[in-house]
Symmetry: C3
Subunit: 412 residues, 3 copies
Amino acid sequence: MFADPVEQELFNEISQIPCLDCHTHIDPLRPTASTLDDLLGYHYFTELAHAVGMPAWLARVASQECTRAVLAHFRRFDNHVAAGWLIELLRLWFDWDGEDVSERDAEQLWALAETRLKRPDWAEHVWQRTRLRCLFLTNDFDDSLQGFDNARYVPCLRTDELVFRLEDRSVRERLYRASGVAVADLSTFRQAMHALCARFVERGAKACAVSLPPDFVPVQPENMGSLGTPGERLWLIAETCRTFQVPFDLMLGVYRRVYAHGVPQGMDLFDQRVSLYAYAPLFNAFPEVSFCVSILSSSLNQELTSYAWIFPNVYACGHWWYSNVPASIENDLRLRLQAAPRHKIIGYYSDAYKLEFILPKFNMYRRVLARVLAQDFVRGRHWTTSRTLALARDLLWNNPQRLFALDKCGTG
Amino acid sequence: MFADPVEQELFNEISQIPCLDCHTHIDPLRPTASTLDDLLGYHYFTELAHAVGMPAWLARVASQECTRAVLAHFRRFDNHVAAGWLIELLRLWFDWDGEDVSERDAEQLWALAETRLKRPDWAEHVWQRTRLRCLFLTNDFDDSLQGFDNARYVPCLRTDELVFRLEDRSVRERLYRASGVAVADLSTFRQAMHALCARFVERGAKACAVSLPPDFVPVQPENMGSLGTPGERLWLIAETCRTFQVPFDLMLGVYRRVYAHGVPQGMDLFDQRVSLYAYAPLFNAFPEVSFCVSILSSSLNQELTSYAWIFPNVYACGHWWYSNVPASIENDLRLRLQAAPRHKIIGYYSDAYKLEFILPKFNMYRRVLARVLAQDFVRGRHWTTSRTLALARDLLWNNPQRLFALDKCGTG
Amino acid sequence: MFADPVEQELFNEISQIPCLDCHTHIDPLRPTASTLDDLLGYHYFTELAHAVGMPAWLARVASQECTRAVLAHFRRFDNHVAAGWLIELLRLWFDWDGEDVSERDAEQLWALAETRLKRPDWAEHVWQRTRLRCLFLTNDFDDSLQGFDNARYVPCLRTDELVFRLEDRSVRERLYRASGVAVADLSTFRQAMHALCARFVERGAKACAVSLPPDFVPVQPENMGSLGTPGERLWLIAETCRTFQVPFDLMLGVYRRVYAHGVPQGMDLFDQRVSLYAYAPLFNAFPEVSFCVSILSSSLNQELTSYAWIFPNVYACGHWWYSNVPASIENDLRLRLQAAPRHKIIGYYSDAYKLEFILPKFNMYRRVLARVLAQDFVRGRHWTTSRTLALARDLLWNNPQRLFALDKCGTG
C-alpha cells in the first residue's frame, strides 16, 4: 500500500490505536445507515454530483433516485477525496472489489447494502472493526439526551442557535422548556446556560461547541440588560464552560448559505481572510477554559499553530470540512507537529453522520500522519519508531482523553 | 529527465495531448517573434533584469540594446523560473545547447534567431511542434477581428476598459464606433454590450474576460440612469454572457501600476487579502453563466477550489502570472485535483505574447502535473496509468473544449 | 544524516560557507551563555514549557528553578523545532549524546555547562566553530556602542521606540541625550534621526531596523509641525537611511502582548491578514534605499517574493520567528528560489540571544536549503553541484555582504 516501508510500518501501528472521535453528527439511535441511500445521500456526494450537473432537487431527500443520480455523475468527480472515501467504504463494509463505481453498479450495491445493513449486529460490527471507544455527538440544546449509552456516545452541547438565533421567539421558547428559564436579557441567558450545561454535564456531556463566521468578534458584555449580540452571548457561554470545567470547541470560519441554490448542507463556504486575533481577548479572559479550535480555511493554520504554541488554553484540533483533504492536512499537520507542543494537538475527528464513514476518514488521516512522521521525525530528526508512535498516540488518544476527561472510554 | 519512471511516463503521454491555450496575448497577424529582441523583450525578462540593476528606460522598446542588457543581467536572476523558460525556448527553437546565457552569447543568439525566425514556415513550424489546435486572443472591444483564421485564433472580448474606464470620453467614443450605441448610462451600456458581443460571437469569440483588483465587488445595478460603477458594469457584462451563452473569464486580484518606476507591464502586483465571498452574489445570480476563475494570489486557491467544489458554474482555471511558478502550481494543482471535481478544472493556459513561449510554459506545467498525478493518484490512490491520463486529458483538452464549445478545434 | 546523497553533499558544502548573521540580539559584552540557565531561559523554551503547564512567573528570571521546570516539561513539547535546536546545541557544545532531555538530566547538564561556559576561550571557540565572520546587533538608539569590535559585532539601529513611543516624554529625553536635539515635532525628529544615524554609522552601523504590526501604514508626512504618527516617523527614518546609504530592515507583522499572561517575550503573535500593498508608496518614494523585508506570517511570502521580483529595492530576508520552522522555511524558500532574483534573497539570520544558538539554527536552515536545491535545481533543472552551490553562496554570503557593505567581514 505504501512504497515506503517506514510509512507502512507507522500506518500499521497507528491503525492499532483505538479511535476517539471528538466531533461527529452521528444519531445515537440510528448510528449506521439503513440503506445505500443513507450513504450516497451524504452531502459530500450530493453537492459534488450537483456541481457537475445533477439537479439540486434530487438531493432534498435520500432516495434511490438520488443515489442513482450520484452514481451517474460519479466519474465527473471521482478524483475528489470524497470519492476515495466512498470506494474505501464499499470495500471495507461491503467487500466491494472495484476501483470505481457508476450507475451500472446501482442494483448490485443496493442489494449488497440491504443484506449487510439489516444485520442485527451491524452497528456493533462497524463499531468494533473501527476500534471505536467513544464518539462525540452534536446535540441541540433541547435534545433529550436519552436512549443511548453515554460512555460510547458522548453528548456535546452545540450552541449555534443560542449564539445566533436567540432573537427568535421560537428559540427562546424552546430554551425555556429546556432550561426552565424565561430568557429576556443576558442575565437570564446566563442563568439558562447554567441550567442547560448542568443538565448536559449530568448526562455525560464533555464539551460545548459552536461554529462561527469569519468576521465573528467575541465581546465581553458591558450591559446585561438586553439580549446582547452574538459576540456577547459567546462570551457568556465561555463563562459557563469555566463553571462546568468543560472545553469549548470553536469551529472557525464558515459562512452559511453562500450558494443559494445548493443541495442541503452543500451551500456553505468561507472567506480566507480570517484571524484568531479577534479571539485573543476571549483566550486571555478565560485561562481556565480549554479552547479546542478547528479552522475551515488553511490560511489560518499558521496562526492556530502559533496560538497553541504560546497560549496554554488553545488547542489545534482536527482538519475540518474544506480542509479535510490530504493536501491541506499534510501542510497543516506538518506545521503543527513542528511548531505546536505535542500536548496541544488533537489529531482528528470524522465529522461523520454514519458510523460507516469513520474508518475511511480516519484511514485517510492516518496515511497522511504516517507520511509526515516518517519524513520529519524518523528521517528528519532520527527518532525511533517507538518514540514516533508515542507522538501519534498523543494526537489520537492521550490528548483528547485528557482534554475531554474521557475516563469512561476505556484504555487505549 | 525525471528520476521517477512513473513521472517520466506520465509526462511523455501528457505531452501527446494537443494544446488548447485558452488565454494568450498573441497577435494573430504577427504570432511569432521577428527578432531575438521580441523574445528577450518579454516583460518577464525586462522586469527581472531591472529588478537586479538594468535601467527601466532600456525596456521601453524591444531593441538590441535591451536584449544585450537583459543578457548582461541574466546571471543575477538565472534561478528564476522565467530564466528556465528562456533556456528551454532557446533549446527547442534554436537548438541552443548551453545551460546558461550571458552577454557574450548575444551575437550568436541574434544570428541564430535571424535565420530561424525569418523562415517562411516558421509560425507553422512552431504551431505544429507545439501541437497547437487553437489559442485564445485578448481582443480590445473595438478590435477589427479580421485577417486571421478564427478556428485557430479564437477571439475573446477583453472588457477591462469598459468596466474601469467608461467614464473616459475617449472610451465611450470608441465604444460608439464599435457598437453603434452612444452610451450615456447603464441602459445604453447594456445595449452597447449586446451589440459588441453579437459582433464578437459572430466572428468566433468564445469568451468574455476581465481582470479585477483584489478589492473589487460586483454589484447588481439598482438604477440604470447613470454610468454606474465598475461593479455594476461587470454585472451587466455577465448578463450579456448569459444572453450569448459564453463563459466569463474572471482574472482576480491584480493592482495595476503599483511599482511606479517599473518597466512596461512590470509594474503590477497584488494584495493577498482577497476573497471570492464578494463574488457569491454574482455566481448565484447567473447560474447559466460559467465563470472561469483565475487567481493571482495562491492565498485564494483553497477558496477557488471549494467554490468549484459546490458551485456548478465556477471553474478553477490555470495558474496566472505570479502564481505561474512550479512551487505555486504544485500546491494549487494538488489541492484542485483532490478537492474540485475533475470536470471543473481548466488545466493551463500560457498567457504568452509569442507562439515560441507556449511550449516551454506548457512543458513546465506538464512536469508539475506529472509529478502530482504520480504521487497522489498512481501511488496514493493506486490508479492505473491510463485512468490517470484520462484525468490529465480532462484538464488539458476535454474540459476547455466543452466549456468554450470549441467544436472547430479538431479532435484531441 | 541525509538519505539522499545529493542533499548530503550540498549540506556539507553549504556548511563550509562562513556565517554572516544579519540579525541577532547578541550582547557583544556577554555574547555567550554564563550558565545553563542562560540557554534554557531562552523564550522559545520558557513559552513552550508555559504553554504545556509551567507557571509563567518561573520564567521572569533565568534561574535553576526555571531551567529545571523547562526540563520537567520538555517531553510535552519535544516535537517542536526549538526542542531540536536544544538537543543539537547540547551535542555541539557539550558533547551531549542523548536524543532527549528531562528533569533527571538537570544536574549533569548544569555541571557540563559550568565547565564549558567558564572556559576563557569559550566565546572564541564558539565563534570559530560557527565560522562566524560577523553578526548584527540590535541596538537601542541611545546605546553607547562601545567596548566591542565592530567588525565582528556590527551595530544596527533599532527604531521601534522612535516610531511607536515618541509621545513618551522619557523616550524624547533619552533621544535628547543621545542626539543633542530636543524633539518637539517632525522637523526636529528628522534632525535627531540625522544625528543618531551619523553617530551609528560612524561607529560601524550597517542598517536601521524596525518591527511593525500587521495593520501598519507608512505615510509621507504632510505637516512637520507636530510629532506626527508612527507611519510618518517611519517615513522620516527611511529618509535618514537614504541620506546615510544604509538599508532599512522592515520586520513585518507582529502584534505585541497579545497573550497577556505570557512569559517575557512569549506574548507576541500576529494576524495573517497583512499585505505589502501599504508599503508600495514607501518603496516607490525611496528607490535609493534597500528595504530588507522579513515577514512573520507565511501568508505574506508570495507577495514578498513578487515584490522582490519587480522592485529593485525590495529584498526577501530570512525566516522570522513563527516562520522560522522547517515546514514554513521550505515552502517560503522554494518559492523565493523559483520566483525572486537570486540577487534579491538574503538567506538567513539567527535572531539569537547567545552565540551558542547560531550554529544549530543555521544548520536547520542549511538542511532545508540543501533539500530544496537538490530537488528543484540539481534534479528539477539539472544544474551541476557547483552551479547550485554558487546560488547558495549568493544567499548566505555574497548578497548580505554586498547589500550591507560588509567590507570588513573578511572573505567568504
